[in-house]
């Protein structure tokens, strides 16, 4: 029973962690991309359609990553090259993504999906209690863990990561030092898009292997909140992602439990819990103005035009 719940929590948390990790790198470079929801749903649609057409969920996964990454280029083009307002462009990306994905997936509504099968590590998965939870998961879970470790190393232990953070904190100084601000930001935006696309692919290939319009259901926005919650640190994204995922799964179990006990709790109230929890968490995290200021990349959301 407990193991089963833990497994569902992991499945529900992985897309949040993946999308938030990508956005974390984007925001560390000083770019606020509010289009996570749009990139995620594009990833979900591309992944599902590619998997259906080829019969391979792995090609689907790849298509999801590519779909999110390419879609994020639109955002890059507007905000980095044409210095459009980042908030508005992010919203545009979300609106366009929701429409376009509906269009792409329309012919596939109701078709049974192809599920990405778990990769089982033979001996490790036999370890009692946590063996199956940690070593008999699908590729997206392993990727999420590898990405947390990799991004943490990249941001805080590598030279390029240091440059990326420098750009995020003060793009004018970074530019003066000869760092290519625009190119780095393009890469960061695309990485964020690819991660969001991967998160979307997880939704349509693992979490609920089918295509449903708007199936991301606000997860992209929750991932954005998660980055703030994690104060832009990869390990905290992992922890926060599991917390948010647990709330989401917890409300499902609470609905079943309440039903069995004969208690009437309107399902809508429980469904609203993840959103309400997000607000509460944001309040707790941001009420201390000073710690927020210390952690936020100082150039976040500010446009940059190199002067020559």
């Amino acid at each position: 029973m407990f193991e089963a719940i833990l497994l569902t929590v992991i499945t529900a948390s992985t897309p949040l962690v993946l999308a938030a990790l990508g956005e974390l790198v984007t925001e560390r470079s000083g770019v606020l991309n509010l289009g996570v929801e749009g990139m995620m749903i594009m990833g979900a649609a591309c992944a599902f359609v590619a998997a259906q057409l080829t019969g391979s969920p792995y090609i689907g996964l790849l298509a999801g990553i590519l779909g999110g990454g390419v879609f994020s280029l639109l955002f890059g083009l507007l905000t980095l090259t044409l210095v459009a307002n980042q908030v508005a462009t992010g919203l545009a990306l979300t609106i366009l993504g929701l429409g376009l994905s509906g269009q792409i997936g329309e012919a596939f509504v109701g078709q049974p999906g192809i599920k990405l099968q778990p990769i089982v590590f033979p001996l490790l998965s036999d370890i009692p209690f946590f063996g199956r939870v940690l070593f008999a998961q699908d590729l997206t879970f392993y990727l999420s863990v590898v990405l947390v470790i990799g991004i943490n190393w990249f941001l805080f232990r590598s030279r390029t990561g240091l440059k990326l953070r420098a750009i995020g904190d003060n793009h004018a100084s970074a530019h003066a030092l000869g760092i290519n601000v625009i190119r780095t930001r393009y890469l960061a935006v695309m990485f964020g898009g690819a991660c969001a696309g991967l998160a979307g692919a997880q939704l349509s290939l693992v979490y609920t292997p089918q295509w449903v319009e708007n199936m991301s259901a606000g997860r992209g926005w929750i991932a954005l909140a998660l980055v703030v919650f994690a104060s832009w640190r990869p390990w905290r994204v992992l922890a926060g992602g599991y917390l948010f995922g647990a709330v989401g799964i917890g409300q499902l179990h609470a609905q079943i439990l309440a039903q069995n006990l004969g208690i009437v709790i309107p399902s809508q109230f429980l469904s609203a819990l993840p959103y309400a929890a997000t607000i509460v968490v944001l309040i707790i995290i941001s009420h201390n103005r000073r710690t927020t200021l210390i952690n936020t990349p100082a150039s976040l959301g500010k446009p940059f035009v190199p002067d020559r």
Binding site: L34, L74, L77, L78, T81, L82, V83, A84, N85, V87, A88, T89, L91, A92, L93, I95, L96, G97, L98, G99, L100, G102, Q103, E106, E213, G218, W221, L224, A225, V228, P266, Q268, F269, S271, A272, Y275, A276, T278, I279, L282, I283, S286, H287, R289, T292, V305, R308
Partner: protein
């Protein structure tokens, strides 16, 4: 080849007017390509989408019905965005406004008084304003990002409405449909010209709100305060303006207008509450606000344009079998092109070719 931006010394007046039009043309061009890819004749599809709805009187009425909530919400949002407050939860404030405004007709269906409609509209505005007050409170008190909180509140509002119409407010005589009782006639926003079509007074409210806010932004100190604080909080402080009060002002104003749009839509167009009362007006209004260049008068025009995408979408679905999702794609594309064309207002764009670049460096 690369693109280089050169800041203009002054905002280009030519491109201020041209940019939204350019964006429209580009959207139509991309739309034509999209229809062609879908295997439809692009010209006739565009005709059905954007021209045919304008040819008949009843259809123009429908245009006004759809434009009213868009304009009402968008003019409020324009004040928010101008003052750098990012309320993106208008859809939620619309929903809550519809709920609070419906309290009277749902609770007192037998109350027949001319007072009921004005009271409903006021209650709707209060409800929307209070709901927008939550992110305002959280922003001013706890420094919480209003983008995320206002958006999360949209989902909560929609679930709350869903619960209301399936639970306590469901009409017992409604054959188990999740809808409330149909509002009594006194509680319905009257039609403007009922002989020719469905357009109701919400459209008039929208025009009045747009003109009033245009006046405020153009001629009143408050409008100046909005712009100054939006461009530089620091400069605003020197002028004695309070950014905190501006958060409250802009959020409550936009919430009230979204709430008014909500109750007008439910009362004037639907006639009862149901689980889904909006095809995303609160989000589309964001596009309307930007396409109108955050100017209330421009928003009247852009509201009509976006209303046309809804109508065209319905028409195209019926006559040539294009899914209504195409409208959402159109709306998204439009916002993209608007934002990119706006660059032309502030910058000169120059294409620099590899050869030219080396010459420039030498020079």
């Amino acid at each position: 080849m690369r693109i280089e931006l050169q800041k203009r010394a002054r905002v280009s007046p030519l491109f201020s007017i041209l940019s939204p039009l350019l964006a429209l043309v580009l959207t139509l061009l991309f739309g034509a390509i999209m229809f062609w890819l879908l295997g439809k004749n692009p010209l006739s599809a565009l005709y059905i989408y954007f021209v045919e709805p304008l040819l008949e009187i009843w259809s123009l009425h429908e245009l006004a019905v759809k434009a009213a909530p868009l304009i009402l919400i968008a003019v409020g949002l324009a004040v928010c965005y101008r003052s750098n407050n990012w309320n993106i939860g208008a859809e939620g404030q619309f929903t809550i406004g519809a709920i609070t405004g419906s309290i009277l007709p749902v609770m007192y269906p037998a109350w027949h008084s001319p007072m009921i409609l004005p009271l409903m509209l006021i209650l709707g505005m209060i409800g929307g304003a209070l709901y927008a007050g939550i992110p305002a409170l959280l922003k001013t008190r706890f420094n919480t990002n209003e983008i995320l909180t206002s958006l999360m509140l949209v989902y909560i509002a929609q679930l709350y409405l869903d619960w209301l119409v399936r639970g306590p407010w469901r009409d017992p005589q409604g054959n188990n449909f999740p809808i409330t009782k149909t509002f009594q006639i006194e509680a319905v926003v009257p039609e403007i010209l009922s002989s020719s079509g469905r357009a109701h007074w919400a459209f008039v409210f929208a025009i009045v709100a747009a003109v009033a806010l245009w006046f405020m932004m153009r001629f009143m100190l408050k409008g100046f305060e909005v712009s100054v604080l939006g461009q530089s909080e620091r400069a605003g402080r020197f002028a004695g303006f309070s950014a905190r009060r501006m958060v409250w002002f802009s959020m409550l104003l936009s919430g009230a207008l979204a709430g008014l749009a909500g109750i007008s839509e439910v009362s004037g167009s639907i006639g009862h509450l149901q689980p889904v009362i909006s095809p995303g007006y609160g989000f589309t209004a964001i596009i309307v606000a930007f396409l109108g260049r955050l100017n209330p008068l421009g928003i009247i025009a852009s509201g009509l344009v976006l209303a046309l995408t809804y109508l065209g979408g319905e028409a195209a679905q019926l006559s040539i079998g294009i899914s209504d999702k195409v409208s959402r794609v159109f709306q998204g594309l439009l916002l993209f092109f608007v934002l990119s064309c706006d660059t032309l207002i502030h910058y000169r764009i120059r294409l620099i070719f590899a050869g030219a670049k080396t010459a420039e460096v030498k020079g």
